[in-house]
Symmetry: C2
Subunit: 195 residues, 2 copies
């Protein structure tokens, strides 16, 4: 039943990545089989290898894709102004970007140990870039006298952990709107670093 209408690879390719992302987020990389992913897409396991050289690369592409999307979106957000303004921008950006992508967040933070060594290094470098963007803002705030941050690197990790933790409890359709969540978290972030 190959090629019912048009070239299928444009359709099947994204379907494979979507199915893989959802299943891996739900059960974990090691617990999901290529046959399960194929079944979700509606093809046989062998056909998956038209879209990925192997299972490991499929995971890597999902994680790398998420990180490059994140960095590109941060770039596009184009944070300007003094450190306080940029910190608010970063905080709201982080929440707005991550809240609608619970599966990507889950996979990107839980499956690091299932990446091969070189793939891990690549993803880690991208993550580090993102962390560094926040750290720069904190250091600038210290220099401006707007923040009191004794150890910018640790505060960076603390803030990102706090913000990313939203994904642990947030469920769309829950009792809180995105705007409400943003303001609560921005309030905590601001107070925890403000001079």
């Amino acid at each position: 039943m190959a090629r019912k209408q048009g070239s299928h690879s444009d359709i099947t390719g994204p379907k494979v990545r979507d199915a893989a992302l959802r299943l891996i987020a739900q059960h974990g990389y090691a617990a999901v089989s290529m046959r399960q992913i194929a079944g979700e897409v509606g093809i046989q396991a062998g056909a998956l290898y038209n879209y990925t050289p192997d299972k490991q690369t499929l995971l890597f592409d999902l994680m790398q894709g998420h990180m490059t999307d994140l960095l590109a979106a941060l770039e596009a957000a184009d944070l300007q102004g003094d450190a306080m303004t940029r910190l608010e921008g970063f905080t709201r950006f982080h929440i707005r970007f991550h809240l609608p992508r619970p599966d990507q967040v889950f996979v990107s933070y839980m499956e690091l140990r299932n990446l091969s060594a070189p793939n891990f290094a690549a993803v880690e470098a991208l993550r580090r870039q993102y962390e560094d963007a926040l750290e720069q803002i904190l250091r600038a705030g210290e220099a401006e006298g707007a923040f009191l941050v004794p150890d910018p690197r640790i505060t960076t990790m603390a803030l990102i952990a706090m913000l990313t933790g939203i994904s642990n409890w947030y469920r769309s359709g829950g009792r809180l709107e995105t705007e409400k969540i943003e303001s609560i978290y921005w309030d905590m972030v601001r107070r925890s670093v403000a001079a």
Copy 2:
């Protein structure tokens, strides 16, 4: 080669749990086989079933054990005084308890999805107990007028995420002592909720 000296079950039992904890923390529950665990202990896979009815129960016992240890230790810490004092006590307790147990923390936060439904519910209930202890302190602080916490439940989740996130970067023998980490994090926690 059964029973070289004394009853082995007292020795092998803990060795099985230790090996399982270390391996699962490193590679994940689904990626670790019973043969790997047995190999680490120095026995055959079949002998593991003298110590656990199945692999799932082995994971559950590790996670439930961690949570009950945590709750017992919190109880023993016996936090007293006004809300600010108790919040400092909780913050320092959390860090001191979690820092020396990186494997338990990792497993307890990463393997929830690999628990069967009833086992998940049991672990989740214990986790909820721990979160509630912090939430009570925040509510008390609001009542005292010492804290400004618009949504105690969310602040609870935010603080626990921030504190538990230490395990993501902390390595024993790193550049920071436990005491230094405690004071940095307590400073952030205090400022983020203080009225």
